[in-house]
């Protein structure tokens, strides 16, 4: 074993990359390991919505700060860029029930700091001419936007290298012995501290340390169209949150919203469920009628992690000094870079700007080996 790192970050998604980057900037010798390539799981395949209207209310203060980071990414990420684009966001209601839901949710989110105002259908169409008729109520948030998530790995990679992070891709960690020796096919990797940043695989990673942390796996489907003339200029959703629509500068329209496909932790995203595919594109075409002229060119899936209370797991791992965890953040792409920054602050011994989300609340039973 040649080097002993100050910290090993396991999992190179947006959480692991951001944490590793800010730890290295804070002066630590960092190794970042991924079993595959950088940001090729959730962080590279997600819908890239940088939104306040899909984010859980408790996360809005984080998401607002992260939104700012995304819009200025090249400045703090050594020129790395995900083509983040700011635009207004609309969450629309077509029925009375949805309008009621929207009103309630907008109120809660506004209280949490998101500048959401409620407007009628006509006003919504003025902001988004592509929007269908029949909107009863819309939540309008001027702070919204989107990124091209597939660029995330490329954007972080150069910055990580510049900051001196040792990036080990195609290096699955198989277990952790002692404090802390990582077992990998490339040999043992030793570090003073460890950060688990494994997305939906956090459950397995926690188990290496004898910690039982149940993580639910969501299999989100996405659909993208061929390039088409401009049909919309906002990020659009529906009150329930089960639609996200945006048109990229190249003319493609991304259709998502969290409709579930087939897959699991072991096999990854296996296949699109055809009924959910149809439901998702119908909802999209209902909301932006011009999408009827689109051609679907591809669909895919990604795995999103959720804790028992659907709030993040970010903080120290109880009972194991120098072991940390980060993940399971709802709309976690949006707030990812900021979450990485505050966890890094904590690991570096500083007070995080905003509170972490310690996992003690999620650990009812600890396994015997802990």
């Amino acid at each position: 074993m040649k080097t002993r790192f100050d910290v090993a970050v396991i999992g190179a998604g947006v959480m692991g990359c951001a944490t590793a980057l800010f730890l290295a900037r804070g002066g630590m010798r960092v190794v970042l390991l991924d079993r595959g390539e950088i940001c090729r799981e959730a962080s590279g395949v997600n819908a890239g919505t940088l939104t306040m209207q899909m984010t859980r209310a408790a996360l809005i203060p984080y998401a607002l700060r992260a939104h700012d980071m995304w819009m200025n990414m090249p400045a703090w990420c050594a020129g790395g860029d995900v083509l983040a684009t700011a635009c207004p966001g609309l969450s629309v209601a077509f029925t009375d029930a949805e309008a009621a839901m929207l009103e309630e949710r907008a109120r809660i989110r506004r209280a949490a700091g998101a500048p959401i105002e409620l407007i009628d259908g006509r006003a919504a169409q003025a902001i988004e001419p592509g929007l269908a008729d029949g909107v009863k109520l819309a939540g309008h948030c001027p702070i919204d936007g989107f990124a091209s998530a597939y660029l995330t790995g490329r954007a972080f990679r150069a910055a990580l290298q510049e900051a001196g992070v040792t990036l080990m891709e195609a290096t699955p960690v198989r277990g952790i012995d002692g404090r802390f020796v990582l077992d990998t096919p490339a040999g043992a990797v030793a570090a003073q501290r460890v950060v688990l940043a494994g997305g939906v695989w956090l459950q397995d990673m926690a188990a290496w340390l004898g910690v039982t942390l149940p993580i639910k796996v969501l299999i989100n489907q996405l659909v993208v169209t061929e390039r088409m003339p401009p049909v919309m200029r906002t990020v659009l959703g529906v009150a329930s949150g089960l639609l996200s629509l945006k048109q990229y500068a190249n003319g493609t329209v991304l259709i998502g919203g969290g409709w579930q496909g087939i897959g699991d932790r072991t096999r990854g995203g296996v296949a699109v469920r055809s009924d959910n595919f149809l439901g998702n594109v119908r909802l999209a075409a209902h909301t932006v009628p011009a999408l009827r002229q689109a051609r679907v060119v591809r669909s895919w899936l990604g795995l999103e992690a959720e804790t028992a209370d659907a709030l993040p797991a970010i903080g120290p791992i109880p009972g194991i000094d120098d072991a940390w965890i980060i993940g399971s953040v709802h709309s976690g792409y949006t707030s990812g870079p900021y979450m990485g920054r505050i966890l890094a602050q904590a690991i570096l011994g500083e007070a995080p700007e905003l509170p972490l989300f310690p996992i003690d609340r999620l650990l009812h039973q600890r396994s015997n080996s802990a």
Binding site: I38, G153, R157
Partner: protein, 467 residues
């Protein structure tokens, strides 16, 4: 209803597979994109078959006739875009019947289900990019044969024919026969390569004779034949006006070019079957056992889509796949056909031609830096190599770094060259670079044709996430 067998693709392999399965009493459905079954060769037989004028037509007609009376449900003119079932089920559930979603000839969507699926999807043509390959006037050899044969149209008045494989000579001869002129024939293969292929070709004297006739035609018309050569650029102001081959320049209003055939593996990739990279078979192919089984239970592959072996070998492979499928489904095989020794000869000849048409690494290496590789997304060789330096180590990651392969063709056109460039830039084999993940739709699908009539209230919107 759930069919016993669905055959995807109605070329020689698919026609034979469906026929064989149906005659053993299975309920069979065949799905084919073209208006009639036939596939590449029998829909668009290349020219120059005058030596044995009716042989191919006869074989195609015989396969079609047998299919027509086999009892198989034949659905032509339908675009299959959706795949599901089989192993594509939630964790812990048993495999489901295969399910294929298609748009019918009338544009109406339909779905068929079957216990077993035989993939006979054939190939698409390989074009190794070169400067100017996206200019109007440059077309594939396969597209040229369709023009010539199906529409009786010349691709141009003065044509350069270039690339690799026997199709070159066939297309050139057909252009001459149609009254066009061939400015040059540019063959990537050297005469030495043709000589080395001879022993395998002698297994099919008919093909040898054809070849001789084609070459005699070219000679008689004084067409310059450049062996071991390649097009260095197609040039012109908005449309093609001349073709460069090294130092030589040929005036031309059309360039028909093709560098071989690449197995169409979109469906087998979508079903997550195991694949291997075998350049001599055309590239990535599903891994098959000796009886045409893929690694996925009840999923079979036959014909060129499983490794390029040519039209003569395809029907027997299709029949074998059908017999295996029926065996695996528990059918009795008393009506099954026996294959004769001609099959082995056809395979050998096919393999020799496939080697001639295999990807030529030197040709990829010669692509200039600024040449566009992915025409859907406008990604150049230089950008691919830059991505390799920036850390892209697999074809899927290359997509993320550059958008290469993200357009309407989903990498069908560029995937192979991009993979080869990435592999050589990283100093690894193409097998290490991997293949792009297969996902539906198999072909771009118009929203209007799948949406159908619906009420907003009927969209089964799932429960919202907690606030």
């Amino acid at each position: 209803m759930i069919f016993d067998v669905v055959v995807l693709g109605g070329g020689p392999a698919g026609m034979a597979a469906a026929t064989e399965a149906a005659r053993s009493g299975a309920r069979v459905v065949l799905l084919e994109e073209s208006p009639a079954p036939g596939g590449q060769v029998y829909r668009a037989p290349p020219a120059g078959f005058e030596m044995k004028p009716d042989r191919d037509r006869q074989e195609g007609d015989a396969l079609r006739a047998a299919l027509a009376v086999s009892g198989a449900d034949i659905r032509t003119g339908c675009r299959v875009w959706g795949l599901g079932g089989g192993p594509l089920v939630p964790e812990g559930q048993p495999d489901a019947p295969f399910s294929l979603s298609a748009l019918g000839a009338d544009g109406a969507p339909f779905t068929v289900q079957a216990r077993a699926l035989i993939l006979c999807c054939g190939t698409h043509e390989r074009i190794i990019p070169f400067p100017g390959w996206t200019l109007p006037g440059v077309i594939g050899l396969a597209a040229a044969t369709i023009l010539l044969k199906a529409q009786g149209m010349l691709p141009g008045q003065r044509v350069v024919v270039a690339g690799a494989g026997p199709l070159l000579y066939a297309v050139a001869a057909k252009i001459l026969a149609g009254g066009g002129s061939v400015a040059a024939l540019v063959d990537a293969a050297t005469s030495g390569e043709w000589l080395r292929a001879l022993p395998a070709l002698t297994a099919r004297p008919d093909l040898l004779a054809q070849g001789a006739v084609w070459r005699a035609r070219l000679l008689a018309a004084r067409v310059p034949v450049l062996a071991g050569a390649q097009v260095t650029a197609a040039e012109g102001d908005k449309v093609l006006s001349h073709v460069r081959v090294g130092e030589r320049v040929f005036q031309a209003d059309a360039l028909c070019i093709g560098h071989g055939l690449v197995p169409a593996t979109e469906a087998s990739r979508t079903f997550r079957a195991r694949h291997a990279h075998r350049p001599e078979d055309g590239g990535w192919v599903p891994v098959l056992d000796a009886a045409q089984r893929t690694s996925v239970p009840l999923l079979y592959a036959a014909g060129d889509g499983a490794g390029v072996r040519g039209a003569a070998a395809a029907p027997a492979a299709g029949r074998l796949a059908a017999r295996t499928a029926l065996h695996d489904l528990g059918f009795s095989l008393e009506h099954a056909s026996e294959e004769d020794a001609a099959l082995e000869r056809a395979r050998r000849t096919g393999a020799a031609m496939a080697r001639m048409m295999a990807l030529r690494p030197a040709m990829v290496a010669a692509i200039p830096a600024e040449t566009i590789i992915c025409r859907c997304e406008g990604v150049t060789r230089a950008e691919i190599e830059h991505a390799a330096t920036a850390g892209a180590s697999t074809i899927n990651q290359l997509k993320h770094f550059t958008r290469c392969g993200m357009g309407p063709c989903q990498g069908r056109m560029c995937g192979e060259a991009a993979g080869a460039l990435l592999a050589s830039a990283r100093g690894v084999s193409v097998a290490d670079i991997g293949f792009t993940t297969g996902r539906i739709p198999l072909r771009p699908v118009p929203m209007a044709s799948i949406l159908g009539d619906f009420d907003y209230a009927d969209i089964p919107v799932p429960a919202p996430a907690p606030i």
